[in-house]
């Protein structure tokens, strides 16, 4: 018999020898605990493929997707099209990182442990926060876990979140809140301060989901004055140019780390950034790597403060998280090491410059205007003479991809994200397509 599993090393002779050693004639003799009528069912799955067949099949599926690089692309938000230095995947996808698991045995896992410690150190510097954990699933679950942590710390059950936080993050928070039965109140950012009383935390996003810069300090002060915490949702590139959460009074900083060298991959796997002040470290969810010495006095790294975690504390753990996104953290460390402070700032600045140039050009299209009252960063919301959703679809027909109003009840229009990947010709294509489509719409309206 040839193997049906191409990765099986066992020949028929191997299997025969193994069965003999066990003292049986067939594996079925080991399966007596399984009800007879349920044993070895027909599954109705397709037959196996050779590697070339599976490669061809999946290339055909991949070809039916429109990758970001195949035309003008302005979709962003928590997931951003950023330049990934060539060395990033080469390093992060090395088999010794990729095919290891959680570093339970530190003596033979120093590569993982030190790389994650590097990640914690780099993010701590970038966000100006004391402690960073080794990752959450993504930005949205980091927000939910931050809310849970604030609830544990304060003993309160109400969480107030700004409506200008990414809608995916708010949705996830609301879902998580069903668990312990927390009250989640959504208010405009400008009303956060007035809602601080009795809240475990105020959750603010800066820059917000529409790109606006938000004055976080008074919000943090209001949270603190009311005995609660301030959770800031942030973005890694913005932190290179904007005063970071630690300087603004945030007690917990969270965000989506995908822009740090991780492919967009339709939304995952990504990287949940989670950082906090030192005083809160024992309430943090997730793994944390610490520095120590080995028995000979040599420096090394271990998972530490593990009594917070599910494998020890079980129902009293700070979170149920076990498998996390460690490889994404290692990827982010490699990205930040390669970019350096200069490269990171350069990437961030390019997005800012391109967004502002594009905002000016689009504002001159009749009926279009930047929909933000104040300063913005590298994305902005554009008020348009046609509903944002319609414009988004019309632009997609011209192979120009943008996002619409991002599920905000009171805001329509489109949202334009720029990064260092935004080319001048892409910008030209967007402006002329918006001109054409909105002009056509005005004529249609006028003709009626």
């Amino acid at each position: 018999m040839t193997n049906s599993n191409p990765y099986s090393p066992h020949t028929d002779a191997d299997r025969a020898a193994m069965l003999k050693r066990v003292g049986i004639k067939s594996v079925d003799e080991l399966l007596t605990a399984i009800p007879k009528d349920a044993l070895r069912p027909k599954l109705g799955l397709p037959a196996g493929m050779s590697e070339i067949e599976v490669q061809t099949h999946l290339e055909a599926l991949a070809a039916r997707n429109r990758p970001a690089g195949a035309g003008p692309f302005f979709i962003g938000g928590p997931v951003q099209r950023r330049y990934i230095p060539a060395a990033v995947p080469v390093l992060a996808l090395r088999g010794e990182f990729l095919t290891a698991y959680t570093p339970y045995q530190p003596e033979v896992s120093q590569g993982t442990l030190q790389a994650v410690f590097e990640y914690q150190s780099l993010l701590s510097e970038l966000l100006a926060m004391d402690v960073v954990n080794s990752s959450m699933y993504d930005g949205s679950t980091a927000v939910a876990e931050a809310a849970f942590m604030a609830v544990r710390t304060t003993g309160r059950k109400k969480v107030v979140v700004a409506r200008e936080v990414f809608y995916q993050f708010r949705d996830t928070l609301r879902t998580y809140a069903q668990g312990p039965g927390l009250e989640v109140r959504e208010v405009p950012t400008r009303d956060l301060v007035a809602n601080a009383e009795g809240a475990a935390c105020l959750i603010v996003q800066h820059p917000d989901s529409f790109g606006a810069l938000v004055d976080v300090r008074p919000i943090a002060e209001a949270a603190h004055a009311a005995g609660g915490l301030c959770v800031q949702v942030t973005e890694p590139h913005a932190s290179a140019l904007l005063e970071p959460p630690g300087g603004l009074g945030a007690d917990i900083a969270v965000g989506e780390g995908q822009p740090l060298g991780i492919p967009m991959s339709l939304g995952g796997p990504h990287l949940g950034i989670f950082a906090a002040r030192e005083a809160l470290v024992r309430q943090m969810p997730g793994r944390i790597v610490g520095e120590t010495k080995d028995a000979r006095g040599t420096r090394g790294f271990v998972n530490t403060l593990q009594t917070r975690e599910q494998h020890i504390r079980r129902e009293k753990a700070t979170s149920n998280i076990c498998t996390n996104e460690a490889l994404a953290a290692i990827t982010a460390a490699a990205y930040l090491a390669l970019m350096g402070p200069t490269g990171l700032r350069a990437a961030a600045r390019t997005g800012v410059a391109k967004a502002h140039a594009l905002a000016a050009r689009l504002s001159s299209v009749p009926g279009c205007a930047v929909a933000l009252d104040g300063p913005f960063f590298d994305r902005f919301q554009l008020r348009t003479p046609v509903p944002g959703r319609d414009l988004k679809h019309a632009l997609a027909k011209e192979n120009v991809l943008v996002d619409d109003g991002l599920h905000h009840e009171e805001r329509d229009g489109i949202v334009i994200q720029c990064t260092e990947m935004t080319s001048d010709s892409d910008a030209d294509a967007l402006v002329s397509a918006v001109e054409r489509i909105t002009a056509g719409t005005r004529e249609t309206v006028a003709a009626r």
């Binding site: 024992r282 009594t307 020890i312 504390r313």
Partner: protein, 134 residues
């Protein structure tokens, strides 16, 4: 063998109490620290808070275990041992000395009668140890 000083009273959860007038000092026993292994973290109630007999007052942790501390007697916390928070290893090296946890002003001296005598505690941990510990 575990040390069980004769001048103290004990709880079944392995805390000891040293009463001096209306002030009582509380810590964990030699047996308890042995079971825990190297203590890495101690969490204690704030000064001025009150603790109730047999209810949780804090946490003591080793690398791979966390145990709740239970108040052997009720009262107001008048002092917490800052040294043991800074150097948790004192719980291992001097459980009855510098490894003490908190001092409370006794609310009800009668509660002391509900605690174990040294002899009773010795047989208690004999039983516990015989059952394989926890």
């Amino acid at each position: 063998m575990s040390t069980v000083p004769n001048d103290l009273r004990y709880s079944k959860e392995h805390e000891w109490v040293r009463a001096d007038g209306d002030v009582a000092t509380i810590g964990i026993t030699h047996f308890a620290q042995e079971q825990l292994g190297d203590v890495v973290f101690v969490e204690l109630p704030e000064k001025g808070s009150t603790v109730r007999q047999f209810s949780s007052l804090g946490v003591v942790e080793s690398v791979k275990a966390a145990s709740d501390l239970y108040a052997p007697i009720s009262g107001e916390v008048i002092e917490r041992n800052v040294k043991v928070i800074e150097k948790p290893e004192l719980v291992n090296s001097e459980p009855y000395g510098n490894g003490w946890m908190i001092k409370v002003r006794l609310a009800d001296k009668g509660e002391l009668n509900q605690l174990l005598s040294p002899t009773d505690y010795r047989s208690h941990i004999g039983e516990t140890a015989g059952a394989g510990g926890d």
